[in-house]
Amino acid sequence: MRVFLRLRRWSHRTQAFLYVVVTAIAFLYLFPILWMFNTSIRPTQDIYKYPPTILPGAVTLENYTYVLTQMENFQRYFLNSVVVTLATVLIVLLASTMGGYAFGMREFPGKGLLFMGIVFVLTIPYIMYLIPIFMMEDRLGLLNNWLGLILPYVALNLPWGLLIMRGAFSTIPLEIRDAAIIDGCNEFQMWWKVLVPIARPAVAATTIITFVFAWQDFLFASTLMTDNLWQTLPVGIVWLRDELQTLVYGRIGAMLILSILPVFVPFLLLRDFFVKGLSEGMLKG
């Protein structure tokens, strides 16, 4: 039906024209990334040649091998990013499937108000939490270690997770829950073995959204991780650019491409969940 409709609307020639236009826009839009990639595969003297050229004079992977094997800082940032992001995702998943069940399938006084309060948090600027969290972590000795980033990341991403999870749990028929209880499950077994598997799409959405957000943060990571050793990729790469006078742009380009890859692959795989979770969350929130 849809195909038939589309066919009737545009002639082949207009469709072809449309493709040319959209492809041109796509290239223009991707230009910043393409340019960084272009920079990352050029030899240093080619990048700093004057007058500069658009196309590389020669192609090399030297920047990538240098960054991966010689730059210990980069390896450390990579490790920090991976540990902090994965831990954040796991804790958010646990907390939001638990809380999502409570908000979606259980009744308790003040439920609506509490949930509204949590969703309301989504519009509050992060800068409001930052100062007290910094002072708190300073007292508790949490500055400059993984936990110091994981805990606030969980708190900030949890509202999204809850929004998505509550939506998923509230559409599960209560009969399923009752049947599981009659079969002799206790509430936790029922939640873990019956309900969470049904809510798998919401789990996927929460996973990818939390992953993407935690991987990108700059505000908290740059404030709470004052020691270079503990910085994550978005902060560490900026630090390297500012501190190392000898660092050439080819290396920065390579680091940039390498630091996008770990989030690009899961994003490609789970992008439908990402889109659905995000747009549902936004429309409800």
């Binding site: 646990l94 409001m128 991987w215 978005p234 630091s259 994003f267 995000l278």
Partner: protein
């Protein structure tokens, strides 16, 4: 008697379960969200230098009066936010709407183009900043090189180093990333419109633009509203880019509310001032989203 007791036990058990299910959420929300909001609210009414070992002094509303009436930096930040927000809103909104309409018309390969336009969403803003700073650099930046090649060499400049253009160069970078976000919402909105409605419009002889104007845009309204609100809220939360590219400069030409609050807190350790600026920022965001809701949803606003 026996059954009644069992009922009570089960009820206690059930309440206990509920508390356990809610515990992680409540713990994180109270410790890292509710408490910080209240505490920075308290700090905003005090004079407090974190670098000195002195407790906060309560000064009531005086701090707010001072900062709102006499703080030139705050006024500059407010002005900058305004001149940032207007082009940012127009650019992001129009480009993502146009892209969503174009891509929704594609017959094949829509997935591929979607990925292309989503892509900036996964690139950290600080790295977007590095990228744009490199592209818009004065001598080796490719943008100036291209300008020279096409004979517009007199326009070439240090885009982030020139106080006249720095803020708008930040708009370009921020907008580039945000477009992916609003594109997602608008495209899923367009796809949710039943084809039968659009077909009906076409049977009635509406052209492409007529169909967009009379069918697509009205039905897209909730999606337009949501993306509008998110763009506006986002236009206030500007930190990563000026922090990475311009440090608020040249001079104070790219000082934003976030950056001002951050600098007050972590360069001067003036936590009172920083909290006041943060609260003013939050207030502006809430006020704007409330206003937008009211303006764009008149039929629902009437009920209030």
């Amino acid at each position: 008697m026996h059954t009644r007791k069992r009922w009570t036990v089960r009820r206690v058990q059930s309440t206990l379960n509920l508390i356990i299910f809610l515990l992680p959420t409540l713990l994180f929300v109270f410790v890292f969200i509710a408490f910080p909001i209240l505490f920075s609210g308290y700090l905003s009414f005090t004079e407090y230098n974190y670098a000195m070992d002195v407790a906060p002094t309560f000064i009531g509303l005086r701090g707010y009066v001072d900062v709102l009436l006499h703080d030139g930096f705050l006024h500059t930040a407010l002005k900058n936010q305004f001149f940032f927000a207007v082009p940012y809103f127009i650019l992001t909104f129009l480009v993502s709407l146009g892209l969503a309409i174009l891509v929704s018309e594609l017959r094949h390969g829509m997935q591929l183009y979607q990925i292309v336009f989503y892509l900036p969403m996964i690139i950290p803003l600080s790295l977007v900043g590095i990228t744009f700073a490199w592209i818009l650099a004065p001598d080796l930046g490719v943008f100036n090189v291209i300008l020279q090649r096409v004979g517009l060499g007199k326009w070439a400049r240090d885009w982030y180093g020139d106080p006249d253009t720095a803020l708008y160069a930040l708009v370009a970078a921020r907008s580039w990333k945000m477009i992916g976000f609003t594109f997602i919402i608008l495209l899923s909105g367009i796809q949710s419109i039943p084809t039968s409605l659009r077909e009906a419009a076409r049977v009635d002889g509406a052209g492409f633009w007529g169909e967009i104007r009379h069918v697509v845009l009205p039905l897209l309204r909730p999606y337009l509203l949501i993306s509008g609100i998110w763009i506006i809220i986002n236009s206030i939360k500007v930190f990563d880019l000026p922090k990475v590219i311009t440090q608020g400069g040249p001079g104070v030409s790219t000082l934003t509310l976030y950056l001002y609050s951050w600098k007050a807190a972590f360069e001067r350790f003036d936590m009172g001032l920083a909290s006041r600026v943060a609260y003013i920022t939050a207030f502006i965001i809430l006020f704007l989203s409330w206003l937008l809701n009211l303006l764009l949803k008149p039929e629902e606003a009437e009920r209030f």
